[in-house]
């Protein structure tokens, strides 16, 4: 059987419906037979009633007209600032480009190759043409081109056009001669 000193700590919980099972029944049984605790419980319930009443009065004074319109307006995404939109676009573009960088490289290489094939050749002046022809003749010439030659011995130098052979014959003083 609960005493008032024990029950007075539990009466607020009973009022709030926070007690379950045997403890709730025990406290409720004590309150029903105790004038002091009954008064305490009644005071708590009266205080709660007044609190709810005050809240309801305050709420009724609030103007809720246009509340949902305001919520709907807030839900609509406002346009982002240009700086933010530019940053987002740059991030999307960069991520897409970085994934296909090799494809871009191959594409650029192909474009350059095709451009090199089909772009018109630069104009060649007669002098340049002549120089190019000389270089071409030099390239086509299989014979050696001697820029300088020095020797203490007798040197014979000849080309055999028939077989594109260049010979440097360094004469042997003892028995060297042109073969």
């Amino acid at each position: 059987m609960s005493t008032c000193s024990h029950a007075e700590r539990l009466v607020p919980l009973l009022s709030d419906g926070e007690l379950d099972g045997p403890l709730r029944r025990e406290v409720a049984s004590h309150v029903s037979g105790c004038v002091v605790c009954t008064g305490a419980l009644a005071a708590l319930e009266r205080g709660r009633e007044l609190l709810w009443q005050e809240i309801e009065e305050q709420v009724e004074q609030i103007d809720f007209s246009g509340f949902w319109e305001g919520v709907a307006e807030k839900l609509t995404e406002p346009p982002l600032p240009w700086a933010v939109r530019l940053q987002l676009w740059r991030e999307r573009w960069w991520s897409g480009w970085s994934l296909s960088a090799p494809v871009w490289a191959v594409a650029v290489a192909i474009v350059l190759f095709v451009a090199a094939l089909f772009l018109p050749r630069p104009y060649l002046s007669p002098d340049l043409v002549s120089k190019n022809l000389e270089q071409s003749a030099l390239v086509a010439n299989d014979q050696a081109q001697i820029e300088s030659l020095s020797s203490g011995a007798t040197v014979f130098l000849w080309n055999e056009p028939a077989n594109n052979t260049t010979v440097i014959w360094v004469g042997d003083d003892s028995d060297g001669g042109v073969p």
Binding site: N141, Q145, I146, E147, F156, G176
Partner: protein
Amino acid sequence: MRPSRLALGCFASVLLLWACQTVASEMVELRIETVLATNSSQDFDNRLTDMRPQLRAFRYSSYRLVQEERRRVGWGTQADFLLPGGRFLQVVPKEYANERIALQVMLLEGTTPTPLMNTSLSIRNHGTLFVGGRKHQEGMLIIRIGAAADE
């Protein structure tokens, strides 16, 4: 395989080929073949078949390959070749231009090697040059100098 990975693989392969070609083009292969030419017989060394038309520039009856050496060197690097009879051949590939290879060639002889001939010339890529005239044994030495650069 995803297209991006396939493209990445192709790109890497092209890059690798380009790198290999770049490294290879910085080397030149020198080929020195020494032939002993005599009139003592009519023998012709079968290893000299590819240069037989060129050897018609000389009036010998017999040709025999006595030494052959190939060496890959970098541009501007001097390559020394020891020839029969204690002779030396110094070859420096200088540059590659207009499909021709510029060479500095020096022939040295003697116990204290003395330059016999020093020349600066250019030959076609994969072309050759003959240097001869030094007596060896019963005949003459004819040296074919070849150079080949990777294009």
